[in-house]
C-alpha cells in the first residue's frame, strides 16, 4: 500500500578530496514508500538543481543490486538497515514518517572521498591486479566437462564470486579491513581446479597488496559478513588465512 513520507536528511557534503566537508540538512516532503533510496536522492537532486544548488554526488549504475556501485552509509550501517541488499535495492518503506536519516560516505583511509558520497575504491582494483585472476591460454575454450568439479566446490566458489566489490565490508568494519573482499576473491579461484597453479602466489600477492593499501587488520567481529549485500561468509576469511599461512611456509621463493 502506497504511503508518503516526510523526511529529514542529514547528508555529508564535501566539495573535493581536500575539502573538510560537513553535514547539510534537507527536508523532503511526500516521498513515496515505493521509491528506492536512490530515487529519493534523485528527487532531492532535482529539487536542488531547480533551486540552483549543487546536486549531491553519489555512485550508482545498474540500480538492480549487482554492479556494486552504490555505497551509502545510512543511519550507521552500510547500505542501510536491511540485510542482503544494496542501497539501490533499499526502499523507502524501510523508513518511518518524520525520521531523520543520516547519510555518510564509506570511511577508510584506503577509500578517500572524491566528492560528497563518492569515494575512490580503486584500491580494490589494484588488489585484483595483484593476483585476483587466472592465467589462461588463448584459443578455443575447452569442453566444460573436461575438468570435473564437485558440486559443493562449485557452489562455494560461486558464493564467493557473488562479491560485487562494493566495499560495504570495509565500511562496516571497525578496522576498515578489506579481508572479506580479498578472501572472496581468493576463494573463488582457490576452490576451482583452474585456480590451483597460481593459488599460493595469488594469496601472497593479494594479501601483500591489501596491506600496502592501508586497510586495517581483521578482528573477526563479523560485521563485514553481516552487512555484505551478497552475504559473503566468514569461512572465506578462514580459508584465506589458511592459504596465506601455508603458502608463506611452503612456497619456493625466499
Amino acid at each position: 500500500m502506497e504511503k508518503n513520507l516526510n523526511l529529514n536528511l542529514k547528508v555529508w557534503r564535501q566539495k573535493n578530496a581536500e575539502d573538510k566537508g560537513g553535514f547539510q540538512e534537507y527536508k523532503l516532503k511526500d516521498i513515496s514508500t515505493d521509491m528506492s533510496f536512490l530515487e529519493m536522492f534523485d528527487v532531492l537532486n532535482e529539487k536542488l538543481i531547480v533551486e540552483g544548488g549543487d546536486p549531491i554526488a553519489f555512485d550508482h549504475d545498474c540500480r538492480e543490486g549487482i554492479c556494486g556501485s552504490c555505497s551509502m552509509f545510512i543511519n550507521g550501517r552500510p547500505h542501510g538497515p536491511k540485510q542482503g541488499v544494496t542501497t539501490c535495492q533499499l526502499h523507502m518503506r524501510s523508513f518511518n514518517d518524520g525520521e531523520t536519516i543520516v547519510v555518510e560516505p564509506w570511511r577508510a583511509s584506503a577509500f578517500p572521498v572524491i566528492k560528497d558520497l563518492v569515494v575512490n575504491r580503486s584500491a580494490f582494483d589494484r588488489i585484483i591486479s595483484a593476483g585476483g585472476f587466472v592465467s589462461v591460454n588463448i584459443g578455443n575454450a575447452q569442453d566444460a566437462n573436461s575438468i570435473l568439479i564437485p558440486k559443493v566446490d562449485a557452489d562455494e566458489s560461486f558464493a564467493a564470486a557473488a562479491c560485487i566489490g562494493c566495499g560495504a565490508c570495509v565500511a562496516a568494519c571497525k578496522n576498515a579491513s578489506a579481508m572479506l573482499f580479498v578472501s572472496a576473491k581468493v576463494s573463488q579461484f582457490a576452490l576451482l581446479p583452474q585456480g590451483q597453479p597460481e593459488r599460493k602466489q595469488r594469496v601472497l600477492d593479494m594479501v601483500a597488496h591489501m596491506d600496502e593499501e592501508g586497510f586495517g587488520a581483521c578482528t573477526n567481529t563479523g560485521a563485514c559478513s553481516a552487512e555484505c549485500p551478497k552475504e559473503i561468509s566468514l569461512t572465506h576469511i578462514a580459508r584465506m588465512n589458511r592459504d596465506y599461512l601455508t603458502a608463506e611456509l611452503s612456497t619456493e621463493s625466499k
Binding site: M179, M210, G216, T221, A238
Partner: protein, 263 residues
C-alpha cells in the same frame, strides 16, 4: 625481505601470533585454575603451599613460565599496537555508527578489555608472585600430620624464621605419636589475608568479568584466525569458548577471593 619477517609483519601473520599466544594463555588459565582449586581444600593450605613450591622450582615449569611471561607481554603490546594501527585505517570516523546491528560488543572492545586484564595481571603479580619470590612479608608455617590418625595441625613459625629450601619435610616422634612435619612458605595465608580487603576482592571480581568478555570473543576468534572454521568443529569451539572459557573459568577464579572474604 626475508620471508619470515615478511610473514610476521603482514596483517594475517600478526594476527596468527596473536591467536597462538592467546590460545597459549587460555591453556595457562586451565592449569592455573586446576592448581588454585587447592585453595578450597580444608587443610590450612598445605596442599596449596606444596603446589606453589613445585610450580616455582620444577625446571620444566620454570621454562614454560618464562615463555608465558613473554607471551603475555607480546600479546598485550602487539594487541595495543594493532588497535592503534587499525584506528589509523579510518582517520575520519562516522558521525553515526550502529555497531550493535552487525557485531557483538565484546568483539569491538578487545583492546579495552585486554588493557583491563593487563592492569589486573600487574596487580595480581605484585600481590602474590612478587611477594612470594622477592618479598619478606610471607612467613613459614609448620604442618603436623599425625601418621596414625591423619589429623592435621598447622602452626605458624616466628616472623624471623627462614630456611634454605622452600619446603622441608621431617618425621618426628613424641609421646603423642609419630608426625610428618612439613615446614613451607605460607602463600595460602597471604592469599587469605589479602582477600579480606573488600576493595581488592571487588577489583578481582570485576576483572574476571573483563576476562569473561575478552574470551567470549577471543577463544573463538583465535580459531578463525588460524583458519579453523568448519561446520564440523564450529559448534564445539563455540561451546568451549562460551561455557568453559567465558563462564566456568572466570566464575571459578572469582569464587576464590569471594570464598576467602566470606570465610
Amino acid at each position: 625481505m626475508n620471508w619470515v619477517t615478511k610473514m610476521f609483519s603482514s596483517s594475517i601473520g600478526q594476527k596468527f601470533i596473536m591467536a597462538l599466544t592467546g590460545l597459549f594463555l587460555c591453556s595457562f588459565l586451565v592449569i592455573h585454575m586446576i592448581g588454585n582449586l587447592q585453595l578450597f581444600k580444608n587443610d590450612f593450605g598445605l596442599a596449596f603451599n606444596t603446589y606453589a613450591v613445585f610450580m616455582t622450582t620444577f625446571p620444566i615449569i620454570k621454562v614454560v613460565s618464562y615463555l608465558l611471561y613473554a607471551s603475555i607481554l607480546y600479546h598485550a603490546f602487539k594487541g595495543i599496537s594493532l588497535v592503534y594501527k587499525n584506528n589509523k585505517a579510518r582517520p575520519v570516523k562516522y558521525a553515526v555508527q550502529n555497531g550493535a546491528a552487525n557485531s557483538h560488543w565484546t568483539s569491538r572492545s578487545m583492546g579495552i578489555l585486554g588493557t583491563i586484564i593487563l592492569v589486573f595481571i600487574v596487580v595480581h603479580m605484585k600481590n602474590f608472585w612478587f611477594e612470594y619470590k622477592f618479598g619478606h612479608e610471607i612467613g613459614y608455617t609448620s604442618y603436623f600430620t599425625n601418621m596414625a590418625t591423619g589429623e592435621l595441625k598447622a602452626e605458624p613459625m616466628s616472623a624471623e624464621y627462614t630456611q634454605f629450601n622452600k619446603i622441608e619435610e621431617n618425621i618426628i616422634s613424641n609421646e603423642t605419636g609419630q608426625y610428618r612435619v612439613v615446614v613451607v612458605k605460607d602463600l595460602y595465608k597471604e592469599v587469605a589475608t589479602e582477600f579480606k580487603e573488600w576493595w581488592l576482592v571487588a577489583l578481582y571480581v570485576l576483572c574476571m568479568f573483563a576476562v569473561a568478555f575478552h574470551l567470549y570473543h577471543g577463544f573463538q576468534s583465535a580459531f578463525q584466525t588460524l583458519g579453523i572454521n568448519h561446520s564440523k568443529y564450529n559448534g564445539l569451539i563455540k561451546f568451549i569458548g562460551i561455557w568453559f572459557f567465558s563462564v566456568f573459568i572466570p566464575a571459578g577464579f572469582a569464587a576464590m577471593p569471594l570464598y576467602f572474604f566470606f570465610k
